[in-house]
């Protein structure tokens, strides 16, 4: 009952998307990370406004000035991070800001009864007086959905609701969605887990690089077709051909790494000069592994063997001293100090190298910085430029440079090309290649499987915190990874 089209010129976040969702269906929205699913849904729910394009809802052209506006018109989005106030009761959260009763006398009986009513519609028997903090994540989702229903929502958007749920909780969610559909509510379900799509969705729309690739009926579409749609075809030419590099001896072995609720028995080896890819869906435990090896988080069981010796990394300082570095996913918050100049960023992980008796030697710092700018061909007018003024790709290079300067032998790169444009991407690939050419080893985490395949010697595929398989870079294909990652 709805025709949407909108475009974002310039930025390629969304490019003239057409999406049609019919009343009473569960419409799946698929796509790799960064395909633009979340952006599209933000537009639909009034979080951001489109630059161009129109939204029709129930055959009427609508414009949403804010999420509240969209809610009142009947479109509610349920984000991954739930928008509930944890200290308040379920009932109060459902009617937050619009409690029943007069201004001076909230009718708690009515509030609780109505809350119960909506909770029942969702198919749950949660006591409305329960404090939200004491609920499970699945129950919190149900409360969110009940809240959406209380707005008389006709369309509920669920943004990767399954990412935070376990198996039995997932079943609960599906039952809830079925109940919703019975009541004539339309659902847009975002996920990249195919088995969920198979189970719950009527039709799907696949997105890639900010464009809608196509809309299909689920029952008439094979998994292979879907995977092809997500991955796309024209990938080969984007990536450089890798020179083959002689692999050295084993430099790091991860043995039975276990972190409660996140990682189970993860083991793999990394050789000198190797690029080891780590693939998996959101929540599979990729970043967790990286942070454990780097000492940023603690793990419960397992051991790390580095250069033949068992090591203990209690904090990042220890890891850096040993020669292990992490280029974090969130480079602006964790990788760089954006309001500081480049040279200060370069040297922050190895202040010892530019100092004597605790005194910083400016000359040495500047010299080293100039060298790093040249080595990684970072585009900047000066080493005194503030990091905030650099483009995303160049910022990423600065973070890499920081750990190069700290003499890291192993670099863990967590999503190094996310949010980076094509040209800079290629330069980052060159940097990675140069790293291994110089005898460093790289642990590459990426959601871009084509990128992983093109760069990696081997790829470890994770699923729910466990290693589901290992592929050699030459034999791997996105389809194979996806199949393993989905299990």
């Amino acid at each position: 009952m709805k025709r949407i089209s909108k475009s974002f010129p310039g930025v390629k976040a969304l490019n003239e998307i057409e999406l049609e969702v019919r009343k009473g269906e569960v419409h799946g929205l698929l796509g790799a990370n960064g395909a633009g699913k979340s952006t599209l849904m933000k537009v639909l729910s009034g979080v951001i406004q489109p630059d161009e394009g129109e939204i029709y809802f129930k055959d009427e052209k609508v414009e949403f000035s804010s999420p509240l506006d969209a809610q009142q018109k009947g479109i509610v989005i349920i984000h991954q991070e739930l928008s509930l106030v944890p200290m308040l009761s379920v009932a109060e959260n459902i009617f937050l800001g619009r409690l029943y009763g007069s201004k001076y006398n909230v009718d708690w009986k009515e509030v609780h009864e109505k809350a119960k009513y909506y909770l029942k519609q969702v198919g749950t028997e949660i006591n409305p007086a329960t404090i939200v903090r004491d609920l499970s994540v699945a129950q919190m989702q149900q409360v969110e959905i009940a809240k959406a229903l209380s707005f008389n929502a006709d369309l509920i958007i669920m943004d990767e609701p399954s990412a935070v749920l376990s198996g039995s909780e997932l079943k609960q969610l599906f039952e809830t969605i079925e109940t919703l559909v019975e009541q004539g509510v339309t659902v847009i379900y975002i996920s990249h887990r195919l088995e969920e799509i198979d189970r719950i969705c009527n039709r799907i729309t696949i997105m890639r690089d900010g464009e809608a690739v196509g809309t299909r009926v689920v029952k008439e579409t094979s998994r292979e077709e879907i995977i092809k749609g997500i991955v796309g075809r024209d990938i080969e030419e984007e990536y450089p051909t890798m020179e083959t590099i002689e692999l050295g001896e084993e430099i790091l072995a991860v043995k039975n790494l276990t972190q409660k609720g996140k990682l189970r028995d993860v083991s793999f080896q990394l050789k000198k000069g190797e690029i080891l890819g780590i693939a998996g869906l959101v929540g599979a435990g990729r970043t967790e592994i990286a942070r454990c090896i780097f000492g940023a988080d603690k793990f419960d069981e397992g051991e790390l063997v580095y250069k033949g010796k068992k090591i203990k990394v209690s904090n990042p300082r220890k890891a850096i001293e040993l020669g292990i570095a992490l280029v974090p996913e969130d480079r602006k918050e964790h990788g760089l100090i954006t309001k500081f100049s480049l040279n200060r960023n370069f040297t922050m992980a190895a202040l010892k190298k530019i100092s004597k008796l605790g005194f910083v030697r400016w000359f040495k710092e500047n010299e080293a910085s100039k060298e790093l700018v040249q080595k990684l061909s970072i585009k900047t007018p000066s080493i005194h430029q503030l990091a905030v003024n650099l483009s995303g790709g160049n910022q990423q290079k600065v973070v890499v440079a920081k750990y190069l300067f700290s003499d890291a032998d192993i670099l863990i790169l967590d999503e190094p090309t996310r949010g980076v444009d094509v040209g800079a991407r290629r330069e980052i690939y060159t940097v990675i290649q140069d790293l291994v050419k110089n005898g460093k080893s790289v642990l590459l985490i990426s959601s871009d499987w084509a990128e992983l395949i093109a760069l990696s010697d081997r790829i470890v595929v994770l699923h729910e915190g466990k290693v589901k398989g290992e592929l050699s870079g030459s034999e791997a294909s996105p389809e194979m990874i996806l199949q393993k990652a989905l299990v």
């Binding site: 940023a296 990042p316 100090i337 954006t338 922050m348 605790g358 585009k379 007018p381």
Partner: protein
């Protein structure tokens, strides 16, 4: 595409530079204006005697403020300086009979180190943030203030007036009063450490983005704890000077001191958002307060009016700081 970005970056950088310069000059200009006002108000103002008098009076505040600058650059806050000033003032005098003046000074410095260590350790243990540092040090400051009162039973102590003790408040070095010499001495040390050492650099990095600093291997908790220890030690030396200047040790000498210290740091332009600021700026802030106090007196304002004026001035300084911050955010 690339050239467009570069051009934009360049203009942005230029714009930023000019703005930063203006912001830096603000406090200096304010100081100059105050000095002009002072010299118009009274012919005495610009005499050597009065100027030295101003400097002598701000030296205790100055010691606290340069120490606080370290803490604030590290994105923490220390409200316990007031209690520390009172406690150190009475302890030095109290220890004199047992340890001698020099021994007492060292003992009090030791106490200060422990206080700083406790402040830092509590905040580390509870994983406290900026807000926690304010509240916790408010509490520890209350404890220190009550300890000062407990130690003397609420009375003022009389020190033994030996030469070492009296020198700090009343002596001089090369013709310059000792409090000023002490302030200059520590200012230079703190300036050099902050600007030229890796420790100083680490404070900036910690304050600017503690997570990025941690992931770069900087021991952020240790750094912050040391800044607490530094401010406590400097304040305890301030306590010594204050006791020596007045030749008595009052257990309530520190009341309101924290506000003066915050005022000096904020007026100097060190951002409470952390990661920026320096000793010379804080000294300008300290000078402004000193001259302001002097001008107040010349204008015949009471102590009470000065309290009010200070409250207003800090809010104004905070607002300026806030505006700078917002501009940065908008840019980011």
């Amino acid at each position: 595409m690339e050239t467009v970005t570069e051009k934009r970056n360049e203009t942005q950088l230029k714009r930023m530079k000019s703005k930063v310069d203006l912001a830096d000059l603000g406090p200096v200009l304010a100081l100059l204006i105050l000095i002009i006002i002072g010299s118009i108000l009274s012919p005495v103002f610009l005499t050597k005697g009065n100027l030295l008098n101003i400097l002598t009076q701000i030296s205790v505040l100055g010691l606290g403020a340069i120490g606080m600058t370290y803490v604030v650059i590290g994105r923490f806050f220390d409200l316990s300086v007031a209690g520390m000033l009172s406690l150190s003032a009475v302890l030095i005098v109290g220890f004199q009979p047992f340890l001698g003046t020099i021994g007492a000074i060292f003992a009090v410095i030791l106490v200060a180190l422990v206080v700083g260590l406790i402040n830092g350790s509590i905040l580390r243990f509870i994983k406290g943030d900026f807000g926690a540092s304010i509240m916790i040090t408010f509490g520890t400051g209350t404890i220190l203030a009550s300890l000062a009162l407990l130690y003397t039973g609420g009375f003022t102590l009389n020190p033994e007036r030996d030469t070492v003790f009296t020198w700090f408040g009343n002596g001089s070095f090369l013709g310059i009063p000792a409090p000023i010499v002490t302030l200059i001495f520590f200012s230079i040390i703190l300036h050099v450490v902050l600007k030229y050492t890796t420790f100083g650099r680490a404070i900036y990095l910690t304050g600017a983005n503690h997570e990025a600093a941690r992931l770069s291997g900087i021991p952020i908790h240790r750094i912050r704890t040391i800044t607490f220890m530094i401010v406590a030690v400097l304040v305890s030396i301030g306590g010594l000077i204050r006791s020596s200047q007045t030749l008595n040790a009052s257990p309530v000498v520190g009341v309101g001191f924290e506000l003066d210290v915050i005022a000096a740091v904020a007026i100097g332009g060190t951002s409470l958002a952390g990661g920026a600021g320096n000793i010379s700026r804080t000294l300008v802030g300290v000078l402004i307060i000193g001259v302001l106090n002097n001008v107040f007196v010349l204008m015949g304002l009471s102590n009470y009016d000065q309290m009010m004026a200070k409250g207003l001035i800090i809010v104004a300084a905070l607002l300026l700081d806030r505006r700078k911050e917002l501009k940065l955010v908008r840019k980011g």
